[in-house]
Symmetry: D3
Subunit: 234 residues, 6 copies
Amino acid sequence: VINPNSDPVMSGVIRDEPERVKRPDTEVEVVNATGAPIAIQSALDEARCTPGTLEHVRSAKERGMDAVVIACFSDPALAAARESTTVPVVGIQESALHLAARLGEKVAILSTGSGTGPGRLGEVLRGRLGHQFASCRRLGLSVSDTVRDRDLVMQRLVETGRRAMEEDGAEVFVLGCAGLGDLAPRLSDALGTPVIDPNAAALKTAEALADLRLTHASPTTHAAPRREPVATGS
Amino acid sequence: VINPNSDPVMSGVIRDEPERVKRPDTEVEVVNATGAPIAIQSALDEARCTPGTLEHVRSAKERGMDAVVIACFSDPALAAARESTTVPVVGIQESALHLAARLGEKVAILSTGSGTGPGRLGEVLRGRLGHQFASCRRLGLSVSDTVRDRDLVMQRLVETGRRAMEEDGAEVFVLGCAGLGDLAPRLSDALGTPVIDPNAAALKTAEALADLRLTHASPTTHAAPRREPVATGS
Amino acid sequence: VINPNSDPVMSGVIRDEPERVKRPDTEVEVVNATGAPIAIQSALDEARCTPGTLEHVRSAKERGMDAVVIACFSDPALAAARESTTVPVVGIQESALHLAARLGEKVAILSTGSGTGPGRLGEVLRGRLGHQFASCRRLGLSVSDTVRDRDLVMQRLVETGRRAMEEDGAEVFVLGCAGLGDLAPRLSDALGTPVIDPNAAALKTAEALADLRLTHASPTTHAAPRREPVATGS
Amino acid sequence: VINPNSDPVMSGVIRDEPERVKRPDTEVEVVNATGAPIAIQSALDEARCTPGTLEHVRSAKERGMDAVVIACFSDPALAAARESTTVPVVGIQESALHLAARLGEKVAILSTGSGTGPGRLGEVLRGRLGHQFASCRRLGLSVSDTVRDRDLVMQRLVETGRRAMEEDGAEVFVLGCAGLGDLAPRLSDALGTPVIDPNAAALKTAEALADLRLTHASPTTHAAPRREPVATGS
Amino acid sequence: VINPNSDPVMSGVIRDEPERVKRPDTEVEVVNATGAPIAIQSALDEARCTPGTLEHVRSAKERGMDAVVIACFSDPALAAARESTTVPVVGIQESALHLAARLGEKVAILSTGSGTGPGRLGEVLRGRLGHQFASCRRLGLSVSDTVRDRDLVMQRLVETGRRAMEEDGAEVFVLGCAGLGDLAPRLSDALGTPVIDPNAAALKTAEALADLRLTHASPTTHAAPRREPVATGS
Amino acid sequence: VINPNSDPVMSGVIRDEPERVKRPDTEVEVVNATGAPIAIQSALDEARCTPGTLEHVRSAKERGMDAVVIACFSDPALAAARESTTVPVVGIQESALHLAARLGEKVAILSTGSGTGPGRLGEVLRGRLGHQFASCRRLGLSVSDTVRDRDLVMQRLVETGRRAMEEDGAEVFVLGCAGLGDLAPRLSDALGTPVIDPNAAALKTAEALADLRLTHASPTTHAAPRREPVATGS
């Protein structure tokens, strides 16, 4: 599990959450990407966390890893990571969305941040979920609030989730931040409907791919030969 | 695992395949739906296998099942099954497609049957995979050929798969029939790209949902109250 | 005309409505599906009404019918019915939507039931109407209210329809329940815009298909040969 | 029925076809648009036939018409015609496509002209039929060939239709030219699958709208008030 | 620059705006279409302005024009114009939308007129911008208001624009009327985000096409041969 | 103009092409990104050229640039670049596609590289052009062939372009590689239809944005406040 953020609270959740949901015989190692920004909030932040993330990806095979998880909800560096190794690489957003799409007709994402309007994350999610996208709602909390007062976070999650059920027809929820994942079981009890922790969804995907000995298609399967300086797509 | 077909060869694969891929501590029971047709090839066949399938679904909870798999690639009776139990119900087609979509850009399905043209299955798959749909190609073999000569089946799978890679840009394959699933590892080696056995994908999803204590959203969450005879949608 | 519901009020409308709109030389027979639930509100209800509906469909030809109408707004058992006969089979939802799409840019559906949120019916309709879908609005009335007080129903239809015109840009309405159909002309006068009774739209389609001696494509045209146990799509 | 072409052969078909399929008590009058080009093959041709077509539309009400059909497969001037009268106006393309979409999963259009490639008509049809669009195939015949030798036309229709069934998965056909409509029944027998004459489909729609006393939504329902010089959309 | 409206205020803006934004060595001539309605608000208005517009298009080449702009936000007669000349023809709506789509994720259009609801213009714009469409909002002002009090217009633009940013997530604005174009720079300053004058966007496109010696594809490239009376698409 | 490749031939074209098409009063400076790979052929190559490209973007303002062009057909680092400066940043792919979409119904891209199948570039282009996408065809040439023999390149362009017109209905072409751009005028003459050099299209867009004093929307307009470590989208 590679953590491309450097915020200590989020890192704590990312470190503990996989232990909670893994199968007994699965071993999990969590590493931090060198040079990672505090949080990934923009295309620029994604560019910044990419070199450090790819470094860990490239060494995964020789360190005997059976699968790699990139633990940030924007799934940064995922395509480049898959070009860099034959070990399966899993994003937490894609894992959570693919699982959620099967547990109900309409999926809502609950995310931190105080942004108004649909925003860019919402657009990406709408594109991926298609007609199953219900909404992307923000909690209106900063990370420092999140740290200090988990009960306040839970209260906001419940309020925002209820509104998403009534106004957006949401039936399934995805927590849209690695740092919120541990609250999924409590929120699910409170709302009476499934809530997905993206860290857990990713870990289960990683376990399944390792069990089935499956990995992503090799880029050499589908691209032009890569050794000579062919100008494909440039 | 509920088998809604009654063909003996297909039933053999459906019985053996889960044992091969399950985690050691998972227990699998395979049952046959009463009144099932030999194969599910039409809307009429789906209607015929529905009562027997739902019977098994309804008794799953009291028999202590943690998850139910419907083992037919057309995912028959899936919506009605989810309305009939709180145990998670998993279809093998949806499991295979959601996994495949994450292992490469373009997904092709290889299916038995001698139908020409894109056909109805192809349309359904295109709708589910969107721009990631590469093609749905038939092997041109009957089930009796499939039974007698597994080497012939493998030869056809390799030929058809190679054409799908060259002509349709396929990067990942899904075997579009429960009865072909056991050939996935051999075909993956031959083609050099991932091949997904839908039985295995479904079993892994069932394990993950049981581990995470997740199930589908309850129909009472999102529908009108169901006790009084309200004419919603009728 | 096959009635797959067993509610007596709805059955009354389904029985009388075709007589009102048919051409003089058209003969209409209305039958009830054996074992039908009171109302069709779920995938499970659709599964329940299917055997009784298909029984009537299979006997339609020998009883000299020129066309069959399935009189429930969710168009249950339609695909299986078309596989069961060469007599044209018509659904009331598809008939109403195809007619509505030609009478204005934006189509709204008014339906009974008290469900809030977009709901599953809304999703299906959005998929069928595409950019012409305005909204699917519920009247917030139970069937028993509908029976007792037709003036109350009309008042709710007018209020809800006006809101759909102002807020959703609706230009054409479809009554989303077989049991509301008779109110279409009065509602059209009140709103000053077209309102479609799905029973009437279906009867006109049935008359047109009979006149033009057209029926649906045979499943043998497009599917794999059906006599041998080929595992197409299973 | 307004004929916006001036070619004599096509006019003959447009004149005779409605008589063949109408109900006994329907009266049909066929008129030619003044200034119409020989055939409608471009946006420029559509612009040319518009004034003459609209003239007939505007006088339809006072001449006691219950419905108007514009008998050209590109449905020219349809939107402007509906703004010009309260009598229902019906296009033959939209009538044929909406009927075809209900008789099978995949619809192909057979059209005259020798154009290669998908062409603009194909694009329009693909947009309207969505996933139900199979293909738009040209016969490779000029109108003069069409006139001289109807057997040659039929032979080409059968050949092209068979290819569309095998290669494009077509299940239902629409004849994509008013002047081909009379060959629909013979072609349907030869191909063993439904073939729709767009003139007939339009006449049946016109009859249904007249029977049900339905017409298109008034432009004043949905647009800004039109008397004052408001610059909406300009 | 062809002005297909005859309103004097709008004509003033259309006359002055190109001069403001053109390169020093570009020469601009503005002409009025004979028989143009005061404003283009309907399909009927578009039909009315088409003959006068095409007349100017046909003479553009011999009068030495390097490019033609049709200065009405509904881009009337554009397809027919391109069939009538080899000089590049540019619409102001398409120019504005293509430029706006590159300056931000979500584009909103601000338009005159008092229409409520999404309206037809909104639908067209949604179709063209796809997921980048934020909204189409009306100012609720008549053209006479627009003439008398430009400060009132600016005030409404600012209010409506702010709402579109907060509620619709708009990041870029297009002024949806040729007669509003001159207010773009002031509005951009007030809102702190890009605002596009469609007249200016079209002039820049015309300059670019002239510089690069590019024009639209000839209709003879892609259509059936046009001299003989082939019934393609008719 | 930032060149994110380091191949000398491609760099030559990128250096000369803007001079050929710019307005006399436009000044063009071409710079190379430090650490750029020879060609941009994968997500990994894009990650590699990003830091050097962003460095030039960040200094553009103080060096008095009015607009920046990133001269690689995959538009690498574009989103991050726009977050890094208020100077307008233009990609050559998006510039070429937006211009091409207005010159004909169907757009084809001709690209170097010997990849078979539709490939990833094709998918991206299909997503951007929607129904206007005709095809993405490869020339089957390496860059070294391209360097040695420009006549061979031209011959392949003409052959491939003719096939795209006949088989894919292409009406407009885009050269899908910065290093092919100079051949656009000759190819356009040979094919008799518009061919767009993406370098030229981007330069004209840059000129237009500078003339109109327009730039992209600021990220602070639409995102959550960025100073505090809010975990939006992470």
